[in-house]
Symmetry: C2
Subunit: 201 residues, 2 copies
DNA sequence: GCATAATCCGTCCGTCCGGTCGATAATCCG
DNA sequence: CGGATTATCGACCGGACGGACGGATTATGC
């Protein structure tokens, strides 16, 4: 029983990890159960034993992925003490070396495309957005409390910061030749600073 | 021959328009040739007569769509004289009433998801991005020339403005409840202004 | 060790869908 | 008005794929 539970956890994690790799590689609309089975070193029947349908498996995979990315952001931000450093602490989003980042953007784009037509993906993204907003909102609030950020609408500002990160990331990832990492970092920093610093110099 | 040519143009436009509506409705991964045929009031064979493959038709549809959106932005910007008004002239992107906008975002998300795995969609987006950058860059350049914009890197700034528009748009469209049109407009304006106004008050 | 259950496999079936094809109708041309 | 070309239709084919099923293998409990 104890062992069974462990094996199930292992297998599910193994399958989801395989799905993650494969989806980010070939895209959600080209993925097949055979692909995932091969990647996970299991048979189709083996996967069916743990996930009752493809749809369910894919959604579970996306959930897992977004949770991982979020955790990553949280960890990184928590290492900063200064509120301004905190809102600037997401520049790891623009780093090719990071394996999670590399597989991440295709996942995000697929999720957004799905969200255009599927309510489940939509609410998944809503939650994810809200997570970022809470994180960033906390940092902004600190800055307001300590008097360095002349911001009134904390939530709106946090949402805008999050949106800017994503907008810059989209260009950076999809058009690498025209958008260098330096471009992404400097302009994200610039735009975000202006939102929290208000009209101060 | 003259008539044939005209008919061909009509049919192709009719088919592409149908594809556009259907794709934005059900998504690129759920679209079928039967769907498009029904929407275009033609048979599958009829469509095959004008487009040799599904892939080709879809790509043509996306090209057409992006061209239309771009034209729209160009037209709107050209109505403004002031450089600052020009870079702020894309707020129509955040308007539910606009039919082109309404069908537009699902199209954009689908294209981005495709671009993650298909080079054709990638270069389509590159061209589209470049179009915006050229447009916005022109406005920024005007501002620089007339001394109101203390900007050195015109292209980089234009790309950042474009990215901000898109980042804000993504949130606005995908999470309407948490991101009002007012939010989108005011924060886009704020962030973009700060980029062109530099550290001036 | 043996029965029972859990895990995992490979095959098969039904469905969906893109593309093909021959037939038919419409249009053009001489 | 015929013959040729073009336009359109809808039936059909074949491949792909998700899911179901039955069996094999392994682990567990007694």
């Amino acid at each position: 029983m104890e062992i069974n539970l462990t094996l199930e956890k292992i297998r599910k994690a193994q399958i989801i990890e395989a799905a993650l790799r494969k989806i980010s590689e070939v895209g959600i609309q080209n993925i097949t159960m055979d692909d995932i089975a091969a990647e996970a070193k299991l048979s189709k029947g083996g996967i069916a034993h743990y996930f009752s349908s493809k749809d369910l498996l894919i959604k579970e995979t996306f959930r897992e992925f977004f949770a991982a990315i979020f955790l990553r952001g949280q960890k990184t931000m928590d290492q900063c003490a200064d509120p301004l450093d905190k809102v600037h602490s997401f520049m790891w989003l623009y780093s090719w070396e990071d394996p999670l980042v590399n597989i991440g953007y295709p996942m995000l784009f697929d999720a957004m495309a799905m969200a255009g037509h599927d309510a489940d993906y939509r609410s998944l993204l809503h939650e994810w957005f809200d997570g970022w907003v809470e994180l960033l909102g906390g940092a902004v609030e600190e800055g307001v409390a300590s008097g360095v950020f002349p911001v009134t609408d904390i939530q709106g500002t946090a949402r805008a910061i999050s949106a800017i990160y994503q907008g810059v990331a989209t260009r950076w990832y999809l058009d690498k030749d025209a958008h260098s990492t330096g471009w992404a970092v400097s302009y994200a920093k610039k735009a975000i600073s202006s939102l929290v610093n208000g009209s101060k110099k």
